[in-house]
């Protein structure tokens, strides 16, 4: 089945949106982990 350009554009944009939000979540987790490690080091 041959996809139309609109379908390709929507698929690419959907994938971009999902990946972007996943990356944002990853950044948030990484930020929390690095900050927690920094605090623990500071308490010592």
């Amino acid at each position: 089945m041959k996809e139309s350009a609109l379908q390709i554009a929507l698929f690419v944009y959907g994938m971009t949106a999902v990946i972007s939000m996943a990356v944002a979540l990853l950044i948030r987790i990484l930020y929390v982990v690095v900050r927690a490690m920094g605090r623990r080091k500071g308490q010592r």
Binding site: S4, A5, Y13, S20, V23, A24
Partner: protein
């Protein structure tokens, strides 16, 4: 006789007079447009960094057309020409040459060809752009507000997503449409790289239109905003949120993890990720002793690139390491 001598001496005029009327008018028009772009760039109406060199190049490349000698003409056109055929061309760049022998010949003739071949064709320019962006960009805001940053980026990408089906609907094939659509969100070198990969025949028109668009957008942006957004909405002051402090160690951790994950996910774009992250590490905020030594940094990156598993897993490498330890 004297007019022949005159035209032989001044080849730009010769090619102009011998061209078809449409081509002659177009060349003169582009020369004038180039001068106008320099003027508008100098006045600050358009982006000067972009428009002054572009205008100068546009005027020069349209003025400096000459009849190429038979060998150069054959290399540039990559066809067998009949004796006496006059091929107009310039000594700037021949972007469509593909065959190796012709490319080697043109590299010795056209003065911008080495930059084009060794920077644009292989994607080096994209890495250099990422290095520049990495040095200028502070990822602190992205780390502090990742979701907001990603939503802004998604809206930034909309230009490409909307243009792609429209370009295809207007008759371009998928590769051409994708190349044209890249103008909607990416910077100049990225557009050129995509065009080289997906639509080589449209490289020249896309280049001209992309840079004109990028330059003209700066000039038209304030008017466009006034036209699209009502005054009452423009008058709303943005809420100043409390700044979240991000330490340099957190930025370094982000650069390392982002580089590794991006390389893992998008191996085809792997050279650009370390270019960006490496420059992030060299930002003044990170007090790393080698940050002042660019050569040292590049050498370290080269040697680390040679440490791929395929090379490193050979037994000889361990012998060398043992010798070094001793």
């Amino acid at each position: 006789m004297s007019s022949d001598l005159f035209l032989h001496l001044f080849q730009g005029v010769d090619t102009l007079l011998n061209a078809e009327p449409v081509l002659m008018v177009t060349r003169i028009g582009l020369m004038l447009l180039g001068m106008l772009l320099v003027y508008l760039g100098r006045k600050g109406i358009l982006e000067p960094l972009l428009m002054i060199p572009m205008g100068l190049g546009m005027a020069a490349v349209n003025a400096g057309v000459l009849f190429l000698d038979p060998t150069t003409a054959q290399a540039v056109t990559e066809t067998t020409l009949q004796a006496g055929t006059k091929v107009p061309g310039t000594l700037f760049v021949a972007p469509l040459v593909q065959e190796t022998s012709n490319l080697m010949y043109v590299l010795q003739i056209d003065f911008l060809q080495p930059i084009y071949t060794f920077a644009f064709s292989n994607g080096l320019i994209a890495c250099l752009v990422f290095m520049g962006i990495g040095v200028l960009l502070d990822v602190g805001y992205l780390l502090a507000r990742p979701f907001l940053s990603m939503v802004l980026a998604l809206f930034g990408e909309l230009g490409t997503i909307v243009t792609f089906p429209v370009a295809h609907w207007l008759g371009l094939n998928l590769g051409d449409a994708a190349s044209v659509a890249m103008v909607g969100c990416a910077d100049g070198p990225m557009v050129l790289f995509t065009s080289l990969m997906l639509s080589k025949e449209l490289f020249v028109p896309i280049t001209v239109v992309a840079y004109l668009y990028l330059g003209l957008t700066y000039g038209g942006y304030p008017y466009l905003i006034r036209f699209l957004i009502p005054a009452r909405l423009r008058a709303i002051r943005p809420v100043q949120k409390k700044a979240i402090p991000i330490t340099s160690s957190e930025k370094l951790a982000f650069a390392v993890v982002a580089c590794t994950v991006l390389c893992l996910l998008f191996a085809v774009a792997a050279p650009s990720s370390p270019s960006f992250s490496g420059s992030q590490c060299a930002r003044p905020g990170l007090n790393i002793s080698w940050r002042s030594s660019t050569v040292h940094c590049c050498m370290a990156r080269l040697s680390s690139s040679a440490c791929c598993s395929g090379c490193f897993a050979r037994p000889q490498r361990f012998s060398i390491l043992r010798c070094c330890c001793c």
